[in-house]
Amino acid sequence: MIRVVLPAHLKALAKVQGEVELDVAAPVTPGSVLDALEARYPVLRGTIRDHGTHRRRAFVRYYACERDLSHDPPDMPLPEPVAAGTEPFMIVGAMAGG
């Protein structure tokens, strides 16, 4: 089970509290996690990555295991603790704006 942490605005939009848990087939990558997340919560489509290109939105970041994975290719496997469900995949709204 993959654990995903959403920023507050997206938790409100998806009407969830706490972490989201998803079944994701191996290999577990940012792309496959987001595919599963958007399949479960279609309202999140377009809010984390572009609808068509799947390019990450500029002010969204992906963190896991104390690393910034935002610039990794979307098909690169996530760290083993994320795939094992011991660490969450964190989707973070960048600190910006007012």
Binding site: P7, A8, H9, L10, L13, V43, R45, G46, T47, I48, H51, G52, R57, A58, F59, V60, G93, A94, A96, G97
Partner: protein, 371 residues
Amino acid sequence: MSGVRVLVGTRKGAFILTSDGRREDWEISGPHFGGWEIYHLTGSPADPSRLYASQSTGWFGQLIQRSDDGGRTWEAVGNRFEYDGVPGTHQWFDGTPHPWEFARVWHLEPSPADPDTVYAGVEDAALFRTKDGGQTWQELPGLRRHRSGPSWQPGAGGMCLHTIIFDPSDARRMFVAISAAGAFRTDDGGETWRPINRGLHTEGIPDPDAEVGHCVHRLAMHPSRPEVLFMQKHWDVMRTDDAGESWHEISEGLPSDFGFPIAVHAHEPDTVYVVPIKSDSEHYPPDGRLRVYRSRTGGGDWEPLTKGLPQHDCYVNVLRDAMAVDSLDSCGVYFGTTGGQVYVSADAGDTWAPIVRDLPAVLSVEVQTLP
């Protein structure tokens, strides 16, 4: 007894203000979508319970929310706004070509006849339409593909399509306005468009007859006289009597002819409202006095309306989509400020009172007149 529902979009959420026809006691609901920018919140003329909201942030992009119960509950609908075909380029601030990029929906204009049909004006400037209540959106690409499109440039606030007006006497005619390209009209239901900017003069454009490049801030029409349009331009308040074929200035008598909103009285086609702002570099009222100006003669003979509005130390702005009128017998006029106040006048502007004083900066105000 009839009543009103005022729909307010702000920098940090949406608010719904309701009152009976006296418009003295108000119930405030919100924030809806707290923390999100609500560029526009509006209702369907065909079904007043049907509301649409443009919800966005720089972080998470665009959402469209729909309510079928007058704003009590909401459902996120389609948020996929993709330009038709290869979008091409427009001009960037420095004169170089820049790809068309979707940023946000500035304005939603529901069809007068069908609650499921809504037009959306977006940045970078384009017109979209849904026919399924917001689930899917398609561009009407004839506007963006006008031969002048590659020369359009953004204004300081972005290259936004902010005004959409239907002609109630001709279902195939529609007007839109884009900052900073100008006003456009279609006579064939949105297939083809042409600029209607003859008579506009814009400082900084060397060609006095420039077809596009004018920073139109807002258009307004009275439904009984659809060939007459009023315009608040970056500078100058303008009027056309021939559906945009030519414009003439009606600013005479205003303390400043810079401003953003313009509105027409619900029952008097020649009664027009503007809110003069000091200048393009100082976006607040002249002399720190918040004054709405009213002309009862279709432009010119402007009178300041001050009763109930702050007349000293007031430095707020009123944005282009933040003024509206209701259609009760005694026409109500409403506007919201960047300081978070929403004002109402239940007597066509003679006297004003704040409905709320401390909302986030107001981006848009619409009003529904309810039976």
